[in-house]
């Protein structure tokens, strides 16, 4: 294979590697990635992709633009400006320092709930997944089918009784009502089971058993490390899901808020001042977007690995 061809298939890094090997007189071991076969597409493809990308990002851009305007500018023109300006920061500061909406407290609540729920979900799901994937016990298949079947139950069916239960526990308007019911879910168990079935060879478990390790020890030293990639993806999805959750918090929270509940509050606090409202929306959408820049690759891999909506 010639180096230009290699570059065309796999990009400049592969070409450099091939040139280095050729300079040393060694054979080029070239294996294109599984999804890098076929000819490079032409500019039309990239033009279409750019349109899709603009459509994905435009609503956020529009939010930043409105957030950096003033209310009079918005009433005069649909697109008050083309680029976000310094006014955005002033508006955001006005939001953060407003006493009607306790922004920092809500952000802290959101973080606490999402972190605790993600950590617990990953731990308990890996535990159950290890058991379903690799341990033998009576009634295993039936129980596993049952777990998957629970996925189709609409959560709204339990909302009214759950509210009554939370009332009995004294958890109305407390974070416990958001955290305790979602410590472990069927989706996580299903996800970890499927992954561990593939990723954990029986030989390893047998070897551990022969060496006299207890089941717990086997889980801790062998299953957990093997589950790490899937666990990271599951944590990511659980975090995003918890962060965006709106229905259940609307039902059980009163004075306490999480970030999604702050958004409808904005329109009450700043009646018809769309510039301020939109800067608040932008501020609340921002943290996850910043995280997405760093973790997006993993999220993409997770969706493509067949992530089902949790």
């Amino acid at each position: 294979m010639s180096t230009p061809l290699i570059e065309n298939i796999s990009g400049p890094a592969a070409k450099k590697y091939a040139q280095r090997r050729a300079a040393k007189g060694k054979p080029i071991r070239f294996k294109p990635r599984e999804d890098s076969v076929g000819p490079r597409p032409g500019w039309v493809t990239y033009a279409l992709l750019s349109i899709v990308l603009i459509a994905s990002v435009f609503p956020l851009y529009y939010t930043a633009i409105l957030g950096s305007s003033t209310r009079t500018e918005i009433a005069q023109s649909a697109l008050p400006r083309l680029f976000p300006g310094p006014n955005l920061l002033d508006n955001i500061i006005a939001i953060v320092s407003n006493h009607q909406i306790d922004f920092w407290m809500s952000a802290l609540n959101s973080i606490i709930v999402a972190v605790v729920v993600s950590a617990a979900t990953v731990f308990f799901s890996t535990l159950a997944g290890f058991s379903f994937a690799k341990l033998g016990f009576r009634g295993k298949n039936g129980l596993y089918v049952f777990v998957i079947a629970t996925l189709v139950i609409p959560m709204q069916l339990g909302t009214v009784p759950m509210f009554i239960m939370m009332n009995e526990f004294g958890w109305i308007d407390s974070l416990a009502a958001l955290i305790v019911p979602s410590l472990v879910g069927a989706f996580g168990v299903f996800w970890m089971t499927q992954y561990l079935k593939e990723a954990l060879p029986y030989e390893l478990i047998e070897a551990a058993r022969v060496d006299g390790a207890s089941v717990l020890r086997t889980f801790w030293s062998i299953a957990l490390p093997a589950a790490r990639p899937a666990a990271a993806t599951l944590a990511l999805f659980t975090f995003v899901g918890s962060w965006n959750e709106f229905f259940w918090p609307s039902v059980v929270l009163r004075s306490q808020k999480t970030l999604p509940l702050v958004i409808p509050q904005l329109s009450g606090a700043f009646t018809a001042d769309h510039a301020l409202i939109m800067s608040g929306v932008f501020l609340i959408a921002l943290p996850l977007l910043v995280a997405f820049v760093f973790l997006g690759k993993q999220l993409v891999a997770g969706v493509m690995a067949g992530a089902v909506k949790g």
Partner: protein
Amino acid sequence: MTSQTAATRRIGFSRNLSRWDIKVSPYLYISPFFLSFAIFGLFPIVFNIWVALHDWDRRLGQGDFVGLDNFTWVLNQPAFWTALQNTFSIFVLSLVPQLILALIIAAILDQNLRTKTFWRMGVLVPFVVMPVASAMIFSQVFGQFGLVTPLMHELGWFSDVDSPFFHNRFLSHVAIATMIIFRWTGYNALIFLAAMQTVPRDMYEAATIDGAGRARQFFSITIPSIRPTMIFVVLTMTIGGLQVFDEARVFDGAGTGGTGQGGADNQWLTTVLYLFNLGFGDWQDRMGQAAAVAWLFAAVIIFFTLLNFFVTRAISTSTSKPTRASRLAAKRLSEKGRTR
């Protein structure tokens, strides 16, 4: 007692312990899930029957046993039927364009692109925007000073109304469907892309040699190959799409600003929003009736899920009867794609 017997006893004890360990541990490890499901999944569902059969006020608690009165009350509410119609209308308006767009985007992405990950991340951006936030953004886009209404007024459409999208029933459904399309299209495109990548490349090569064009290849190879994934996506979108709440609640600036009740004439009232208003709204605390709505709603979801499943399967088998071998191959491929 000699030391020998003590030693044998200890061996026996540890062997018993490890046998017990192997027997009990598996059940112990799955118990957190089943415990949690029993308390927060199964019990509420059973309890929901009890609540639905009683007069139950959110503040006063349990009242008299009323039998099926809550159900008849709900079924006699025009708002309940309006909500069902709206939910269905929004669902159809969002599902069809979403599927078509997702398929096209996936087909474009399924090439040997430069900076693959960048483009894939790009289509997933809407997925990490809080649904409530995107609802707020789009209610601005479709609002009086937004991007669409001034244009419509220029063209002389709905010029008698300030904000037609908050007034006209069909237009409000279009706006809410747009939010759902924005959020889920990229996500589903990536799921389709994962399925498309399991299609062997030499099939396309063979088709090219046979003189099939791009479009022909797409309809004769790609679509049949990812059929199981399409059924799966339609099913998940049905279950999720009928539960639309966030967007409808925030569309007119819920909370203390707007009413968040689904419009002055229930134009965009959805079933879950109706349940919310009944049980937890600002003026009503009808928990018994809300529980009845929950049951009716669950029945609707199960009905549509099954209907969808059979319709999609019928469509996918009637268009071109695939041979048993190709069906099996498709199944194998889809399984591979899902567990990879």
